[in-house]
């Protein structure tokens, strides 16, 4: 991002294609006369979420280009206004106001839960659709409001629950969990413990690690010797340390089966020095960062559009590894926005409510160019989408898929019905 330094650009309007260019390329197109649709993007450009934010921005740009090349939304060109929220809930709320004031038709894109929860009340009050790409359980739990939806990524509760049957059947039934000692970790703890119990297994130890920790070795002796499966999920810049120290700790001695969430290694190369011990261990992936045999046509196109090579790194810099299991949500959300707006006959900000109702009316999303991660089921009552999940094994330093869950594996009873709430 060197070129961005001090370049007066980011806030300025980004068009996949200038109106003039479009008009000359496609004679008869009348973009020049129709005002563009403006989408606000709440971006983690700085702060703890920056590694994700960078890829979210690239994915949004790529999706924008594809949508505009195909004629925009309802025949109108689309532009995205990016605004940095510093991965901070206070600034996040301010950014929602700012983007709304700048005339955005809706806002999308945040990942970190505290930013979503800090911003959603403002979006609700301003009556602007707020589409999050966060995987948090905060949407379907009923904590937020009618204007907040998550149509692009399955939530943690569903992801976690869908892992249990395969883990219990293939890895073992006595599980020790290592997770961060805050809300994101608790979702893993609570829902996996519940799900593995339903499979006849049990969680024999829960090791919570404080968020301020930078080294983990001293927590590892707490892993009981009879553990069959070690389940780990860590986030933040120290995750790689955790995985390396786990390797040092077990060394050449006996070790349990190891199953982790790829969150522990998002934006990190699995072939990094010190990670050799991951060979043979398993990971949850929403979308396989390494190109698999039989990759769909839609995913091939997606991979090329966002500039990710066959191993999951940037095509221009092999050391720049993508956040492949999360960033697809931005792409899919933008395509869902297009579908929703066109279904609602969206004309102006006066139609925001119609747009939300059109999304709530959606039920299934077919696998295809707009949904390269796979087909999905959308629950209009809980505002949450559900999709397939993958389990991969590190084989020769590469993550190869060994299992793909069904959508039913991750479904649970509704905790809320947003459609009964007022706008």
């Amino acid at each position: 991002m060197k070129k961005d330094l001090l370049v007066p650009s980011r806030r300025s309007v980004l068009k996949g294609m200038g109106a003039g260019l479009a008009a000359s390329a496609f004679p008869g197109y009348t973009w020049a006369q129709s005002a563009p649709i403006k989408l606000g993007f709440q971006l983690h450009r700085t702060g703890i979420g920056a590694a994700y934010g960078r890829w979210y921005e690239r994915t949004a740009q790529a999706a924008l280009k594809v949508v505009n090349d195909a004629g925009g939304i309802g025949g109108r060109p689309v532009e995205i206004l990016f605004e940095d929220d510093a991965t901070d809930p206070k600034r996040g709320a301010e950014v929602v106001e700012k983007l709304a004031n700048d005339g955005c038709d809706l806002i999308f894109g945040p990942l970190f839960s505290h930013v979503v929860i800090g911003s959603a009340p403002r979006a609700g009050e301003l009556k602007i659709p707020y589409l999050v790409c966060s995987e948090g359980y905060h949407v379907a739990s009923g904590m937020l409001n009618r204007w907040t939806l998550q149509p692009g990524i399955t939530d943690v509760r569903s992801q976690v629950s869908s892992m249990a049957p395969w883990v219990a059947a293939n890895l073992g039934k006595k599980v020790t969990m290592v997770y961060p000692d805050y809300a994101f970790g608790y979702d893993h703890r609570d829902f996996f413990t519940e799900a593995i119990k339903a499979q006849g297994g049990e969680v024999i130890a829960q090791i919570a690690i404080p968020p301020t920790e930078t080294t983990f070795t001293r927590y590892l002796p707490q892993i009981p010797a009879e553990t069959e499966v070690l389940y780990h999920v860590m986030v933040g810049p120290a995750v790689l340390t955790f995985v390396k120290e786990l390797g040092d700790f077990y060394g050449s001695g006996a070790r349990p089966q190891i199953f982790g969430f790829i969150d522990s290694l998002e934006a990190v190369d699995t072939a990094s020095p010190g990670l050799e011990f991951l060979e043979g261990t398993y990971f949850w992936e929403a979308m396989n960062r390494v190109k698999q045999d039989g990759q769909t046509e839609a995913e091939t196109a997606y991979r090329a559009a966002v500039g990710v090579d066959d191993t999951g790194a940037s095509v221009t810099d092999a050391a720049d590894v993508s956040t492949y299991s999360h960033m697809f949500s931005v792409w899919e959300t933008l395509h869902t926005i297009k579908a929703g707006m066109e279904a609602a006959g969206y004309q102006s900000t006066a139609d925001r409510q119609k747009f939300v109702e059109a999304l709530e009316a959606m039920t299934t999303m077919a696998e295809g160019p707009g949904n390269p991660q796979g087909d999905k089921v959308f629950n209009g009552k809980t505002h949450q989408v559900f999709g397939h999940q993958n389990i991969s094994q590190v084989t020769g330093g590469k993550l190869l898929r060994v299992h793909r869950t069904s959508i039913e594996d991750g479904q649970y009873a509704d905790a809320v019905d947003y459609t009964t709430m007022s706008f």
Partner: protein, 292 residues
């Protein structure tokens, strides 16, 4: 795991923490002791050291240890240069006023963070350790490199101690620390001493970072934690007391590691934080400081 092996592991871990903490804190303590400057950007010098180490090791070819040795030499030099520049351009002009320097170093903190984010990026990146050697105990394995970190830190600390007490530069520094006006009267170039001390303090943080970066990764926000811990260590050890700082680093490293065995880790952090706060309340001059 039974208590014995756990204790062994906890002690080794604590020593690694204590070793790098001691280096970082001694750097902070030198700056505070000599210049009376509370350097809020100290953690960013640590971060900068780690980031530079990544740049050096990735651009130097050959076996890992060559890149590592190059980083150990170049990263602290680079960081020292940045620090000396900051001293000349900003701190000196503020005449080292305590409150003004706090604001200035907060500004510096933001500038360095942005520089790292822009030129290095938001990811955490690993650096190859100079050697991969694991010690296999009957109960667990342990990284041989971590033990090397302990010894390397001790060697650097001894060198600093020798430099301060035995060399002429150290004498000049201590003279400036005691009374800068008198030192100036005796023909000591105080400006140069200050620039040198500020650079040395930053370089020590950078050395600690180069040592730690094969264990933890370089990340643009990694400076916060060492800053906080280093501050605590310096105060507990007694301002300006090197011996106190080193002992405090040991105490803090060990207590943090051992309390975690008995309580839930977050609770342990709360207790440890309050404990240190209370030590300061009832012994504000620190464990080894003379009464201020």
């Amino acid at each position: 795991m039974s208590f014995g092996p756990f204790l062994l592991l906890a002690v080794m871990e604590s020593l690694v923490t204590a070793a790098t903490l001691a280096l970082t804190a001694v750097g902070l303590s030198l700056v505070f002791g000599t210049m009376r400057v509370v350097n809020v950007a100290h953690g960013e010098f640590f971060m900068l050291g780690a980031v530079l180490a990544w740049f050096v090791t990735t651009s130097v070819g050959g076996p890992e240890w060559i890149g590592f040795v190059a980083a150990l030499a170049l990263a602290p030099l680079g960081v020292a240069a940045v620090a000396a520049l900051a001293d000349r351009l900003v701190l000196k002009r503020l005449n080292y006023e305590p409150e003004a320097t706090i604001v200035a170093t907060i500004g510096l903190l933001y500038i360095l963070q942005q520089a790292a984010l822009t030129f290095y990026g938001p990811e955490a990146r690993p650096v190859e350790p100079p050697f991969n050697f694991r010690i296999q105990f009957p109960w667990f394995g342990y990284s041989g490199y971590k033990l090397f970190v302990i010894f390397a830190a001790i060697a650097v600390l001894l060198a600093v101690w020798w430099g301060l007490t035995r060399s002429k530069a150290g004498l000049i520094m201590r003279a400036t620390q005691v009374d800068r006006d008198t030192a100036r009267a005796f023909g000591i170039n105080v400006d140069r001493v200050y620039a040198g001390v500020f650079a040395l303090g930053a370089a020590l943080a950078a050395i600690a970072a180069v040592l730690i970066v094969p264990i933890q990764q370089a990340h643009y926000l990694m400076g916060g934690e060492p800053l906080l811990l280093a501050f605590i260590t310096v105060i507990v050890g007694g301002l300006g007391s090197l011996r106190g700082t080193v002992i405090a680093a040991l105490v803090i490293g060990l207590s943090d590691g051992l309390i975690a065995f008995f309580y839930s880790p977050t609770l342990a952090k709360i207790l440890a934080t309050l404990l240190v706060a209370l030590v300061l309340v009832f012994r504000p001059q620190g464990l080894f400081g003379a009464k201020a």
